[in-house]
């Protein structure tokens, strides 16, 4: 695991012997005069879950798109296995083992489950111009992989649009893992899920880490993050506000930072009277505004 100081960009890996799977160094991205991201540093090693937390509009999505190869950064270096890369399409990132499971899951609702599972990486048999899809094998593999995740579909030929939100999420994750992802980027996988289905997804994140994958878990739920994370990064207004390994952090710290962190401390100081107010109830970043006023 990479050790890191509390300052941003200084995630220098003191204990890392080999190059991390994926490393961002001083990454920035501007859209015209809008700076979406500034000076982002990140390291993801094998068997490690890095959680990226941030409020809406913090720049998480832009960061994912850079890592996934959809955007090119306008500043900084992007390294895979220690070598600098310049992805011009998600295909290139995929070829290097960097797979992204988007919030919209990158599935085609009208297509059958097995076709979605293998979309873009279809299995084929035959030779030359008569190469065709190996439908039977794809159906079987898709079914097996989904069963391993506890999803037993009545009909692997059913359109994905007919599945529940959690099932779709699992289809997307199982697909990424099956296709040899070494780094798995999960964009708010638990955002739209119920408690039980979130649990399934979190367990699968754990399993992916145990299998030696590097996982980047994007979320705005510090509780979910703390359950599985090894390293935590909080992004605020396009900058890194916190960058710490699990050992140097408690859930309360994380929740505190997510809920406004330093600003809240200042506010707390200003409003100080009698006993120190509790910060623990500030669970959700979305409630930041009203909570601050109530304090």
């Amino acid at each position: 695991m990479t050790s890191a100081k509390a300052t941003p960009q200084a995630s220098a890996g003191a204990g890392a012997q080999t190059a991390p799977l994926l490393e961002l160094d001083g990454i920035g991205k501007s859209f015209g005069n809008i700076r979406a991201l500034t000076d982002i540093g990140l390291k993801v090693g094998a068997g490690e879950v890095t959680c990226i937390l941030g409020d809406n509009g913090a720049g998480k999505s832009t960061l994912i798109k850079i890592i996934a190869g959809l955007y090119r950064p306008t500043a900084g270096r992007y390294l895979v296995d220690g070598g600098e890369v310049d992805f011009s399409s998600p295909r290139h990132a995929l070829d290097r083992g960097i797979a992204t499971v988007y919030q919209d899951l990158a599935i085609v609702p009208l297509m059958p489950v097995w076709r979605n599972f293998f979309l873009g990486s279809e299995l084929r048999r035959g030779v030359g111009p008569f190469r065709m899809l190996d439908a039977a094998r794809m159906r079987r593999i898709a079914d097996e992989e989904l069963k391993k995740m506890g999803i037993d579909l009545p009909d692997i030929d059913a359109p994905v649009g007919n599945l529940s939100g959690g099932q779709r999420q699992v289809v997307a994750i199982a697909r990424a893992v099956y296709f040899g992802a070494r780094v798995l980027i999960l964009d708010e996988p638990t955002a739209a899920l119920g408690v039980k289905q979130s649990g399934v997804v979190l367990k699968y994140i754990n399993a992916a880490r145990d299998a030696g994958l590097g996982v980047i878990f994007i979320t705005h739920n510090p509780h979910h993050a703390f359950l599985v994370g090894d390293h935590f990064v909080i992004i605020k207004l396009g900058r890194m506000e916190l960058d710490r390994p699990r050992a140097e952090l408690t859930l309360d710290d994380l929740t505190h930072h997510m809920a406004g962190g330093a600003e809240l401390d200042a506010l707390q100081h200003e409003l100080k009277r009698g006993g120190a107010p509790e910060v623990a109830p500030l669970h959700d970043a979305g409630d930041e505004g009203p909570d601050v006023r109530r304090l």
């Binding site: 996934a68 959809l70 399409s89 998600p90 295909r91 995929l94 992204t100 988007y102 919209d104 899951l105 990158a106 599935i107 085609v108 609702p109 009208l110 297509m111 076709r115 293998f118 979309l119 873009g120 990486s121 279809e122 084929r124 190469r131 065709m132 899809l133 439908a135 097996e144 992989e145 069963k147 391993k148 995740m149 506890g150 999803i151 037993d152 579909l153 009545p154 009909d155 359109p159 007919n162 699992v170 893992v177 099956y178 296709f179 040899g180 399934v200 367990k203 699968y204 754990n206 399993a207 992916a208 299998a211």
Partner: protein, 352 residues
């Protein structure tokens, strides 16, 4: 390369056995996109079979199949394009543009008509490529891009024909080198049990079979559905969206060439002002056959059935002795009915 994980998730006690009853075979069949058009085809066939005596002969069937194939061959490509999420309004005049090019090229340079046909193929594929390329580059809706192409081609067809031949139609090329062999390929007919069948019917079947195989059994087919169903998702998993779209427009170009060659070698001359409106018939055939206007859904077989319904209606009205002007009324009514039935069947069949 692939990796599998050990089972991790709970609840391996099958949710399937608890909550889902097996769908019946009929239900499964009913979810097919072409069901609506199949029902429509049976109805139309029954109606004309009952009221029109001449409709019941083998010769009538051959004529119907020929009428269907002229629309059906283009409908194959248009259906593929619609499944890929795009329209081509220029398809109708592109057919004429191809026929004109072949005819005038061969006549003007006094070369074998096959050379003219090759030139027309290049032009047709280029038109298709331009449609696709403009669409991908400008990100405009295909409606606009191909509408512009439609208007430009219509103007070019007449203007260039007038420049080259001094008339609005091409010169008769039936006495030129290679005409007979070209006619054998594109516009001949052969006898089956005493009934003359046009070769376009055979080509139509071949193209439908080939396109269905590509769509259902090849990687490209998978990509066509994906690009039409959700373009962003397809791009995110590595499908070359731009190439697929351009390829689809070029496929329409190829079939426009084929249809243009049929026209040319069937009638020896091509009228430069024709073809307008046919693009909507191709789209009609595809939609009747279950293709969604929004893309990502449909089959080529459905489009073939749609074209067959058109052929039956067109010829059936003639055989029934009705005024020919009723054809479009019935085709329109058929379209409306088929779309409504298709939508209804789809929602019913998807209910679990």
């Amino acid at each position: 390369m692939s990796r599998t994980l050990e089972p991790t998730a709970p609840g391996s006690g099958s949710e399937k056995t608890l909550r889902v009853a097996q769908r019946s075979a009929l239900r499964k069949f009913m979810t097919r996109p072409e069901v609506g058009s199949l029902v429509g085809a049976v109805i139309v066939f029954s109606v004309f079979f009952t009221i029109a005596d001449p409709f019941r002969t083998g010769a009538a069937l051959a004529t119907i199949l020929y009428a269907s194939s002229t629309i059906g061959i283009m409908a194959v490509a248009v259906a593929l394009l619609m499944i890929g999420g795009e329209f081509d309004l220029s398809a109708g005049v592109a057919v004429i543009a191809s026929g004109l090019t072949a005819s005038m090229f061969a006549w003007y340079f006094s070369v074998n008509v096959w050379v003219g046909a090759a030139a027309a193929l290049v032009v047709s594929l280029t038109i298709g490529f331009l449609n696709g390329w403009l669409l991908v580059r400008t990100k405009l809706p295909s409606f606009l891009v191909t509408l512009a192409m439609f208007l430009m081609l219509q103007g070019l067809n007449i203007a260039i024909t007038k420049l080259v031949t001094g008339q609005v139609s091409t010169t008769n090329i039936s006495d030129m080198d290679g005409f007979e062999s070209a006619r054998a390929v594109f516009a001949s007919s052969f006898s089956v049990m005493g009934v003359d069948v046009r070769i376009t019917v055979v080509w139509w079947m071949v193209f439908v079979g080939l396109a269905t195989w590509v769509l259902m059994r090849t990687r490209v087919g998978n990509w066509i559905y994906a690009v039409g169903g959700n373009q962003e998702s397809a791009r995110a998993v590595g499908v070359p969206v731009a190439k697929v779209k351009i390829g689809l427009f070029m496929t329409v170009g190829f079939f426009a060439w084929f249809s243009g060659m049929h026209l040319l070698f069937m009638f020896n001359t091509v009228q430069s002002g024709e073809g307008v409106g046919n693009e909507l018939l191709y789209i009609m055939a595809a939609v009747v056959g279950g293709c969604l206007l929004t893309g990502g859904y449909g089959t080529v077989v459905g489009a073939a059935i749609g074209a067959f319904i058109y052929g039956m209606t067109r010829q059936g009205i003639v055989y029934a002795g009705w005024d020919n002007n009723w054809v479009f009324f019935f085709v329109g009514a058929m379209l409306l009915l088929a779309v409504v039935v298709n939508g209804w069947v789809r929602t019913q069949a998807n209910k679990r």
